[in-house]
């Protein structure tokens, strides 16, 4: 019987249930043949070499007590040397970018991995501008509203987050792990099968069969293996979620530098269109990254189109009124492949004229008469710089989904398993929290494992792991449902909803203390490891939202439902205000 039939599938060896299927037969055969062969005895096997898996290996290896007492192996199916040898030109940027919160960065710094990040390829976010695609109601966050204290180094600018290419981070983690001889990386090796070792009275440990024939017997199996997590299926943990009717288009954008009269290119811009948010993430003075969540058909058309068409559409999407964007979308879908850059340019020009957009305004793109060297228009800081071109080969799209595992720790026949990162949760990228949540998981799990090691505990046991689940499950759930509600709130074009959410946003923009509280929660402040400060942030945010609800009531908004929805949406917009994050 061939193993290839199960190469991509992993299942639990369910001998007790007496189920007989061809797959299970394969499992039985393997167990009888391998029971005689040699098992490699390990303490931690991490499946998946993405940012979360690598960060966990990095964090465990950084603790002396852990690396001296545990044998740690990370298994990755792809070739990690591609990441290790990644060395692009200084002006070329990868299209997968994440906004690392200050908390995430502090954690990486503590572990010793941040020192290996090529910091010149990262960019601080010093300000964020978020506005409603229909009403133009706007909220601005500035890092200068933060305490002077939270910067990491005295010379560093105050920032809310730091945009970092995922490859830059992964390469840094690999470099850090290379300094830890105790942590072993196995790449180019697939996990063929995971089964529970047969023991009298149960309690067998996981056996991980690799494509090179090795069998790893491990005390703890960590699933850092992404959304379709084989470890999660082995653990028998189901998950809850759905696919959004949305695709994210990503690309690396080139543009002229900001002039001396403007703020530097460290502002993140995000416009909530009913089709989904479009975000502009600064990477360098002349390069920025795009994350445009939109309907699948439109995303497909944009990805396939001429880069000049996409360039025009991006510029328009930040500027044109929503009604014109709707027409442009229809225009692209109807014209199809025959559309030329000139046609779309003409269409945008016509729309700008009919909306009476001044040629000297930053809101003009096709008709723009703004000279880079001259005095910028009065509203130029309200919008990102005009995109000049798209770096070749950087346009891509991927589907968005919401998914949360029912548990983070396996029990019963799937015991000695734990999930981190996307294996545990997948989230809409609009608030840029995906990778940060994963790093939060890793930090918590590494701490949990270290504590168990110091007390002589069995790190695979439920007792040792339960603090991790307690610390992370609800925390992640809050962020996830907040981002999900926000996505739904801003997908609406219903007039009362738009009005209510706009009033909410504008009112909130006036409350500095709420914004500060929210930023604190978004990890802009350094409150890591200080639950008291974290709780304060929440209390303040709650108070602010109370104020907002009252304000909205005096504005005679009919229907408490909408008020509540706005309250939740805005509260959560604020607390998850990071930047879209293009991690898988």
């Amino acid at each position: 019987m061939s193993l290839s039939s199960t190469s991509s599938r992993v299942f639990r060896f369910a001998s007790k249930k007496g189920i007989s299927s061809p797959l299970l037969q394969v499992g039985r055969n393997i167990s009888t043949t391998t029971s005689a062969t040699h098992h490699e005895e390990l303490d931690v096997v991490i499946v998946g070499g993405g940012p979360a898996g690598l960060a966990l290996a990095s964090a465990l290896g950084a603790s002396q007590a852990v690396r001296e007492s545990l044998r740690i192996t990370l298994v990755e199916a792809s070739d990690l040397s591609k990441v290790r040898d990644w060395d692009p030109h200084a002006s070329a940027f990868s299209n997968r970018v994440s906004s690392l919160t200050n908390n995430s960065r502090h954690f990486l710094k503590d572990v010793g991995a941040w020192d290996h990040v090529e910091v010149s390829r990262t960019s601080p976010v010093e300000e964020m501008q978020v506005w409603d695609g229909i009403s133009d109601a706007r909220i601005t966050f500035s890092a200068s509203e933060l305490d002077p204290e939270p910067t990491m180094n005295p010379g560093e600018t105050r920032q809310m987050a730091r945009l970092t290419e995922n490859l830059n981070l992964q390469r840094a983690l690999l470099r850090h792990i290379a300094t830890l001889s105790e942590v072993r990386l196995l790449d180019n090796v697939k996990v063929h099968l995971i089964q529970q070792e047969e023991r009298e009275g149960g309690g067998g440990w996981p056996l991980v069969h690799l494509s090179d024939g090795r069998v790893l017997r491990t005390r703890l199996l960590v699933g850092a293996d992404g959304f379709n997590s084989p470890v999660r299926s082995y653990a028998g943990i189901s998950s809850y979620g759905w696919a959004y009717d949305t695709q994210a288009v990503v690309a690396t954008l080139s543009h002229a530098p900001r002039s001396a009269f403007q703020a530097p290119n460290t502002v993140k811009y995000q416009r909530f269109l009913p089709t989904g948010p479009i975000a502009f993430l600064p990477l360098s003075p002349t390069v920025s990254s795009l994350v445009w969540s939109t309907k699948p058909a439109l995303a497909a058309a944009l990805v396939k189109s001429d880069p000049m068409i996409l360039t025009s559409m991006i510029n328009a999407a930040f500027r044109l009124p929503e009604v014109s964007m709707r027409h442009l979308h229809r225009f692209i879908l109807e014209t199809g492949a025959s559309l030329t850059p000139i046609q779309i340019q003409e269409e945008i020009t016509w729309r700008e004229r009919s909306h009476d957009i001044d040629r000297h305004s930053a809101y003009a793109s096709a008709t723009s008469d703004v000279v880079a060297a001259g005095i910028p228009s009065h509203d130029s800081d309200m919008l990102p710089p005009l995109v000049a071109s798209i770096q070749p080969g950087t346009v891509a799209s991927f589907p968005l989904r919401f998914n949360h595992a029912d548990a983070y720790i396996g029990e019963g026949e799937g015991s000695r398993t734990v999930l981190v990162g996307d294996a545990a949760h997948t989230i809409h990228p609009l608030a840029g929290q995906g990778l940060n949540m994963g790093l939060g998981d890793v930090e918590s799990l590494a701490r949990c494992i270290q504590e168990a090691v110091l007390q002589g505990g069995d790190i695979g046991s439920h007792t040792a792991l339960s603090p991790y689940a307690q610390e992370r499950y609800f925390e992640n759930h809050k962020i996830m449902s907040a981002v999900d509600k926000l996505h739904k709130l801003y997908s609406s074009t219903l007039e009362p909803v738009v009005w209510a959410r706009s009033v909410g946003l504008e009112v909130l923009n006036e409350f500095d203390f709420v914004k500060a509280a929210i930023m604190m929660n978004a990890g802009a402040y350094s409150v890591r490891g200080n639950p008291a400060a974290d709780a304060t942030g929440w209390a303040m945010a709650a108070k602010g939202v109370e104020g907002l609800a009252t304000g909205a009531a005096t504005a005679k908004i009919v229907g408490q439902g909408i008020v509540g929805m706005v309250g939740i949406g805005v509260q959560n917009l604020l607390r998850t205000m990071g930047t879209p994050n293009q991690q898988k």
Partner: protein
């Protein structure tokens, strides 16, 4: 409850070792490495396994043969606990024996640390049992006990709630009159002299107000369950407020 017990054992041995041999004496913050430890009433072996993982040469004994079988079977799954471990840094070892404290006392072997967790409240002759445990120690050795205080609170929590309301414990497991208070252990060791050394010092030479012993001679710490965390916590040193040492507590005393 095990992480808290381990925390107490580790921290107390660390504290005393550092006090006597200086800060540099303990490598990597692990004071149990290489010590001979006896776990009296090891049950399923939770504590014994943890001690062995931290590098102690551990002997777990229990009067119940089935407990020893369960503990041995559980430990056999863990390569770190088997004798032929190839890992150089794991110097610990683990042996289980079906024998009572009184019988093992007849052998010559003495230990650096003797632990007996959640056993005292089930023993018919506590004074005799504690004496046996005490005599199994080398001079300067550490005795760790954990048990339940005889208070109205402990009646409510360990008998009324645990046995009769939640039924987490088989009714009849505990007998309230067998519970022993911290002050009784302190007064026992204030008078106690080893049978082999009748002229020697008592184990606790003096106590402060509130009956608290010197921290280098003996210590009482409460263990409190925090329901919303689902975890046990060690109450702070010297805390004697209501609820701290009025139910589950740990006791440490040192052989002079």
């Amino acid at each position: 409850m095990n992480p808290v017990r381990m925390q107490f054992v580790r921290e107390k041995v660390l504290e005393i070792t550092r006090e006597e041999h200086g800060e540099e004496a303990v490598k990597g913050g692990n004071p149990l490495q290489g010590l001979d430890i006896l776990d009296v009433g090891c049950g399923g072996g939770l504590l014994s396994e943890s001690l062995a993982r931290l590098g102690a040469h551990t002997v777990g004994i229990d009067a119940s043969e089935s407990n020893i079988a369960i503990a041995s079977s559980h430990a056999s799954a863990d390569p770190r606990l088997s004798a032929d471990s190839s890992r150089p840094s794991s110097k610990g070892s683990l042996v289980y024996r079906h024998i009572s404290a009184e019988e093992i006392l007849k052998e010559q072997k003495r230990f650096d640390v003797v632990c007996s967790m959640e056993v005292l409240e089930h023993v018919d002759n506590p004074a005799g049992f504690i004496s046996s445990c005490a005599e199994l120690l080398k001079p300067g050795g550490h005795l760790f006990l954990s048990t339940i205080a005889r208070t109205p609170l402990s009646y409510v929590l360990t008998i009324l709630v645990a046995e009769h309301i939640l039924r987490k414990v088989t009714p009849g497991t505990h007998t309230h009159s067998k519970y022993i208070n911290p002050s009784e252990l302190i007064s026992f060791f204030s008078k106690y002299r080893s049978p082999s050394d009748e002229e020697g010092m008592s184990w606790i030479t003096r106590t402060y107000e509130h009956g608290l012993p010197m921290r280098t001679e003996a210590e009482v710490r409460g263990m409190v369950y925090i329901p919303w965390k689902g975890q046990w916590m060690l109450t702070p040193r010297g805390a004697s407020g209501w609820g701290t040492t009025h139910c589950n507590y740990l006791f440490w005393v040192r052989k002079p």
